[in-house]
Amino acid sequence: MTAIRIAGKAPVGLTAPRSQVIAFLVMVAAFLIAPLFIYPIFLAKMLCFALFACAFNLLIGYAGLLSFGHAAFFGMAAYAVGHSAKVWGWPPELAILFGVAVAAVLGLGFGILAIRRQGIYFAMVTLALAQMVYFFCLQAPFTHGEDGIQAIPRGHLFGFFNLRDTETLYFVVLAIFLIGFLIIYRAIHSPFGQVLRAIRENEPRTISLGYKPDHYKLMAFVLSAALSGLAGGTKAIVFEIATLTDVHWGTSGEVVLMTLLGGLGTVFGPVVGAFVVIGLQNYLAQIGAWVQVVQGLIFVVCVLTFRRGIVGELGRILKLKL
């Protein structure tokens, strides 16, 4: 498999630009000292949603597929983790892996059906499938409907790290986030990522070059679903609860907002977007339902004035790839 070469230059995007390496190091350093200033559980929540948004960005930012059903993977993984940890008594690492597997299998099923269509039809197919998952979760006995799976034990990671301890929990979540982030980073800077971008730009031409777009799209879809599952499963461990909110279409919408706000198709955009949205929800919680109005206004302003998103615009001003 060869990358697309531009005359006389190294393959575009196969090696990480220095700006991204530096930004990555800054981000890791910030996360390492953040718990000194900010409530660790809140940070852990932001990390889970940041990973979720990154996984979503892999699909929309690089393959150009707008899925409107990602909450299904996020939420089903949360339920899978909750059920396996609480009812079957699995340790957290196995429970989370099980959640990822459930999300990946679900993603495979969704993907096979959805990638046959493009644009709005693709979005509608994923939304319809996700709504089916939502109503399944509403009625299935193991999810406990409105009550959700409560009191999920956090347990000991590898039988050694006590996740009851907030600090330990935070650093475990940070490690999970970084693993997920690096997997996505590796994927978009690989020949696989190059082909995805080629498909996004011009699918017929990619076919004429001998690639099978459906295979690539399906792989990207399953990878994105699995990583969304990783995020959802981790969130269930952090909050010890898995509820209908996680599978609700509102969550699918929120992740779109995070990605757009941060910057579509940028590496760090979804992380920033997730932090902004979750931060707003948290710090504006006193104004109640008005949070959604504020979110809507921000979305409108973002689309009208800086369409590349926060990180996208920042990269343009600084002339850097972020």
């Binding site: 559980i41 409907g145 409105e146 959700g148 409560q150 909050f239 010890e240 609860i241 919680a285």
Partner: protein, 403 residues
């Protein structure tokens, strides 16, 4: 003389200082967590914050000189939002006690978080009797009512007046399930039959298909195992289907004063309901209601508001006696040790499983011509004495009751 005065003042300062040190974070923080915008906003909502404030003002605004603050939040009836707020309150904001929390699914989640963090949880709004049953906790007091008490009041009264076959319309979450379970047990124990049930989503708008199922079941009584906006909507829509004219009767298993107000006496008259408190019971309750209504846009207190007032007052009394708020289980143990006494609930006690024991009342909603005006809605049918109003200690399956 001056010297002794100085010394005394210094001693007082030291004593006061040490009393301050006993209260974690230098203040006592009370968190009122409930539904501020949805279907339970009228029966709990902002009114519960007002009730907590009234209790605090009556107590003098401080405990042994330590300031007491009240904060509030909206849990939107979602367990995940509720447990997030609770965790953040306990970990970051220094909240010592969470009160009210209608919506049993949320209350059960807070019950777990409170136990984990060793704080205090005073339930007034939630009904599920599991809170003092299998899920009972040394950090939780369940104040106002529960599903067992409702079933024992309304359920029994309806069966004894001839309503011996039932069909349930049940809100599909912890509260609805518990209420249906407890009422079915009462119906069957009194010789009645349960023909079936249908579950509807929480905060539902259209009850037509559920009501038609209930109608075609042929049951004499349709038991409404739901609350707040869901109850008023199902009663209104049942009227449109002519269910009562068709010979079936409705049993609202949990109907609040504000629900009756929303329905109007034209629709609601004749309903039998069980409550822990009615504002028009005696001079003290009327005085309380008048002040409450003045501060709450004219809305009179429901039993949930009364329960918030009464439980916060008892919590503050226990805190005063104990002088420390850090260990939640100890505060609750003190609350159980001290007999309760206030102007709304009278004398009572908190049982070892966390259940507050007091009489319950069976009311009938007045006919429009019997009512003297707004909020004059109930006439008393029976008083259920304290010792019969709640589930006996040995039948709840609470681990605390066994030791």
């Amino acid at each position: 003389m001056k010297k002794t005065l100085l010394a005394a003042a210094a001693l007082c300062a030291i004593a006061a200082g040490s009393a301050h040190a006993e209260m974690s974070g230098g203040t006592v923080k009370i968190g009122v967590l409930n539904d501020m915008s949805g279907l339970y906003a009228d029966l709990a909502g902002q009114g519960s914050v007002i009730a907590a404030q009234m209790a605090l003002e009556e107590f003098g605004g401080n405990v042994n000189g330590t300031k007491v603050e009240i904060v509030s939040a909206d849990h939107q009836n979602k367990p995940d939002i509720g447990s997030n707020v609770a965790r953040q309150w306990y970990d970051v904001d220094g909240v010592d006690v969470i009160v009210d929390v209608p919506t049993s699914s949320v209350a059960l989640a807070i019950n777990d978080v409170t136990r984990e963090k060793n704080k205090v949880f005073l339930v007034s709004g939630a009904a599920a009797s599991d809170l003092t049953g299998p899920k009972c906790s040394p950090n939780t007091v369940h104040w106002t009512y529960d599903t067992w008490a409702l079933a024992n009041g309304t359920g029994k009264a309806v069966v004894q007046t001839g309503g011996d076959s039932w069909f349930f319309l049940t809100a599909d979450y912890a509260f609805g399930h518990a209420l249906e379970r407890d009422t079915s047990a009462v119906v069957e124990a009194n010789g009645g039959k349960v023909l079936g049930s249908v579950k509807h989503p929480l905060q539902n708008a259209d009850f037509s298909s559920f009501l038609l199922q209930a109608q075609s079941s042929g049951a004499k009584v349709i038991g409404l195992a739901n609350a707040g906006g869901d109850t008023t909507n199902s009663i209104k829509q049942a009227a449109e289907f002519g269910i009562v004219q068709g010979g079936q009767s409705l049993a609202g298993l949990l109907v609040f004063l504000t629900d009756v107000h929303a329905l109007g006496l034209e629709t609601a008259h004749g309903l039998i309901l069980t409550e822990a408190f009615y504002w028009d019971a005696n001079d003290e309750t009327r005085k309380f209601a008048a002040e409450f209504a003045k501060r709450n846009r004219g809305i009179h207190p429901t039993m949930i508001h009364a329960g918030v007032y009464s439980s916060v007052l008892h919590y503050l009394k226990a805190l005063k006696e104990l002088g420390a708020d850090a260990d939640g289980a100890k505060v609750v143990a003190k609350m159980k040790e001290m007999p309760t006494d206030d102007r709304l609930f009278g004398k009572g006690q908190v049982r070892v499983d966390g259940r507050h024991i007091h009489p319950m009342y069976l009311f009938e909603v007045k006919k429009p011509e019997e009512s003297k005006g707004p909020w004059d809605y109930y006439k008393l049918r029976a008083t259920i004495p304290a010792e019969e109003a709640f589930r006996p200690l040995d039948q709840g399956g609470c681990p605390l009751a066994k030791s």
